[in-house]
């Protein structure tokens, strides 16, 4: 009898599968490799060699120049993203808690309407949002941009938390109420400690959305308060002087690193959180 965990024989069909997978990996990784290699090349090296050639001489000058150019905007992005992510996740958690465990008359309709927010394209809210920010006196400020991101993100965060919380049995809240706990005590002491996976999902989702956002950034901020995505665009699209591809690539890498970092740190919760509730634990 052959063991069930025996390694499958390395036959032709299996080789074919590996070949296809390898090809897919290459296709996905080549752009990254090109970016990395280019960012460490000198401008001369770039103009003489080809895209995939190894740098004749590794230089960090592209990175340092890129950092000098975009660092201010990098900080802007952090100042926009961190509060926007934290606020939208917190309010989303509270919304989800109410919509799943403290239902009120019309709460289902309320939730249904809120879901429309997930399907609204960015472009449709530009004008109304801009009008509102103007009225509030927040036009072209970081606070204004944070507000837009929070409001736009609420539909998603509420959906995430609400769907996670409906799988938590009602009896838990009932038990806590009989134990004498109130609305916020139940939320803080019982519900939130159970929410780690969905909090992670929300943080990753919101961080990626807001950090990578370009449209809101370009519309609702100006000059020194622009996020890094807008700054990167300005840098790459600059028409004066020689094209410094190494700087462009390094700046693009800098702009992309934080989301990568978030995935590495919290990624294991992501799949777990998205599938939570699918199987009764």
């Amino acid at each position: 009898m052959t063991s069930l965990n025996a390694k499958p024989a390395l036959n032709l069909s299996r080789l074919a599968i590996y070949a296809v997978l390898l090809l897919a990996v290459l296709v996905y990784l080549v752009p990254l490799v090109v970016m990395l290699l280019t960012s460490f090349k000198t401008p001369e090296d770039i103009s003489t060699g080809n895209l995939l050639s190894w740098p004749v001489q590794f230089t960090g000058s592209g990175w340092s120049k890129a950092w000098a150019t975009v660092s201010g905007y990098f900080v802007n992005s952090i100042l926009i993203t961190v509060p926007a992510v934290l606020i939208s996740t917190s309010i989303g958690a509270l919304n989800g808690y109410v919509l799943s465990m403290w239902r009120f008359r019309g709460s289902q309709l309320f939730f249904g309407l809120l879901l429309f927010g997930c399907f609204l394209p960015f472009q449709t809210v530009l004008l109304p949002a801009s009008f509102t920010l103007g009225k509030l006196g927040l036009a072209s400020t970081t606070t204004g941009l944070v507000l837009v991101h929070v409001v736009y993100g609420l539909a998603f965060t509420t959906l995430f938390f609400r769907n996670y919380y409906v799988s938590i049995p009602d009896a838990l809240v009932k038990a806590a109420r009989l134990d004498g706990a109130g609305f916020f005590t139940i939320f803080g002491r019982i519900i939130l400690p159970m929410s780690t996976p969905i909090i992670m999902v929300c943080l990753i989702w919101q961080f990626t959305q807001i950090w990578n956002d370009f449209l809101f950034g370009v519309v609702f901020s100006s000059g020194d308060s622009q996020p890094i995505t807008v700054a990167l665009n300005n840098l790459v699209n600059t028409s004066t002087g020689a094209k410094e591809y190494n700087v462009d690539m390094a700046a693009a890498m800098i702009a992309g690193l934080p989301t990568l970092l978030v995935y590495v740190v919290a990624g294991k919760y992501f799949v777990r959180g998205l599938t939570a509730g699918a199987v009764k634990g």
């Binding site: 049995p169 009896a171 009932k174 038990a175 109420r177 009989l178 134990d179 019982i190 159970m194």
Partner: protein, 378 residues
């Protein structure tokens, strides 16, 4: 320690919807164990949630120690509840689960520790205090859930089908333990179940519910021996009561019910039942253990010979099925009775104990026991 009284309690989820609870009226004394029993959807869990304050009532009043608590929030009613799903806080240790209610009520830490230790000792879960609910077996979770309820020494305990998630053996064990616990603590308890054995064994008082109405409220013996209607009679008892469609005839001022087994007939005297019953569709209610073996007519009880169709030895009893009036009838006989399928048995009924129901309304018909019955062989 408290009395509990429900006065005309009414519950509806909307003006167009049927009432979930209709005019619930009952009272239990301090320390009594009340069972709410009924099929699923009968409103028993809703009633319990209303007592706990988790759901509001649409009318009537709930009184604990003669104080109207209808408008109070759950935490002010001083009630503790054990849930069917246990509802243990999954992120807290067993110790914190038990202590949670005490912490919320801002007891000093020393008092909390003392109370947790007392409850843990009582339920023999001292060795589990550091664990999370996920690391416990079903029976252990059940104990912790009870511990959480016991910890505050509330006025009233509510149990919502606490044993239905346990396997059969553990269920019987925990049933005895709950009874033992109640005998020791003597706290007023309301216990919801759909299991009629739990209802019979645990309760001082039983309320049988159906369609949001209390069908009968009384001691387990009253419910069993003196059911108010066809539903209560059929719901309580295992194997269930036999219902035999009968016709009545009147002879010399006596009312007789005619039984026919296919090979014999017998007229069962029912005392002087009320007038106007002849011709109505009636059901004779006989519990399986009220049909006894005997060589009729010998001891004055009416009897009938019938053919055995199925036998089910359960161990302590032998269940024998015969056909009377074209209806399958279960008889609970001693296990040593030698009988095989196809045999004929002489069966006897005690006319003092049979019940009569109106088949269409389910209403129980009163049988006056004035006349001493005796056998009337045909």
């Amino acid at each position: 320690m408290a009395t509990l009284e429900l006065r005309n309690v009414h519950k509806t989820y909307g003006s167009g919807l049927p009432d979930t609870l209709k005019d619930i009226q009952l009272a239990i004394r301090d320390g009594e164990f009340l069972i709410l029993v009924g099929p699923s959807g009968c409103g028993k869990s809703t009633l319990m949630n209303c007592i706990a304050g988790l759901e509001s009532i649409s009318g009537g009043a709930i009184l604990i120690d003669d104080e109207d608590v209808s408008g109070m929030s759950p935490k002010d009613r001083d009630i503790a509840m054990v849930f069917q799903s246990y509802a243990l806080y999954p992120t807290m240790s067993v110790r914190d689960n038990i202590a949670f209610g005490l912490k919320i009520r801002k007891l000093p830490q020393a008092a909390i520790d003392e109370e947790v230790a007392r409850v843990a000792k009582l339920l023999q879960i001292e060795h589990l205090l550091g664990r999370k609910p996920g690391q416990l077996s079903g029976g252990q979770q059940q104990r912790v859930a009870m511990g959480r309820a016991l910890a505050r020494r509330p006025k009233i305990y509510l149990f919502d089908e606490p044993l239905s998630n346990l396997d059969a053996k553990l269920r019987v064990e925990m049933r005895t333990e709950i009874k033992l616990m109640h005998q020791r603590l003597k706290t007023t308890t309301v216990y919801v179940t759909h299991d009629q054995i739990e209802a019979m064994t645990l309760g001082d008082k039983v309320a049988v519910m159906k369609d949001g109405i209390i069908q009968q409220f009384g001691t387990p013996q009253q419910i069993y021996n003196d059911p108010a209607n066809l539903f209560v009679a059929s719901f309580i008892g295992s194997p269930p009561m036999n219902f035999i469609p009968v016709r009545l005839s009147r002879q010399d001022g006596r009312v007789l019910a005619l039984l026919d087994s296919g090979q014999a007939r017998c007229e069962l005297p029912l005392g002087s039942a009320g007038d106007g019953l002849e011709g109505r569709e009636l059901m004779l209610g006989v519990r399986p253990e009220q049909i006894t073996l005997g060589s009729a007519p010998g001891n004055g009880l009416p009897g009938i010979r019938a053919e055995v169709q199925v036998t089910e030895p359960t161990g302590p009893d032998l269940l024998v099925f015969v056909t009377l009036n074209q209806t399958k009838v279960c008889c609970r006989l001693a296990p040593d009775v030698a009988c095989r399928v196809g045999d004929s048995l002489d069966l006897q009924f005690d006319p003092e104990r049979v019940l009569l129901f109106d088949a269409s309304t389910g209403e129980r018909l009163d049988l006056s026991r004035a006349v001493k019955p005796d056998a009337v062989p045909v």
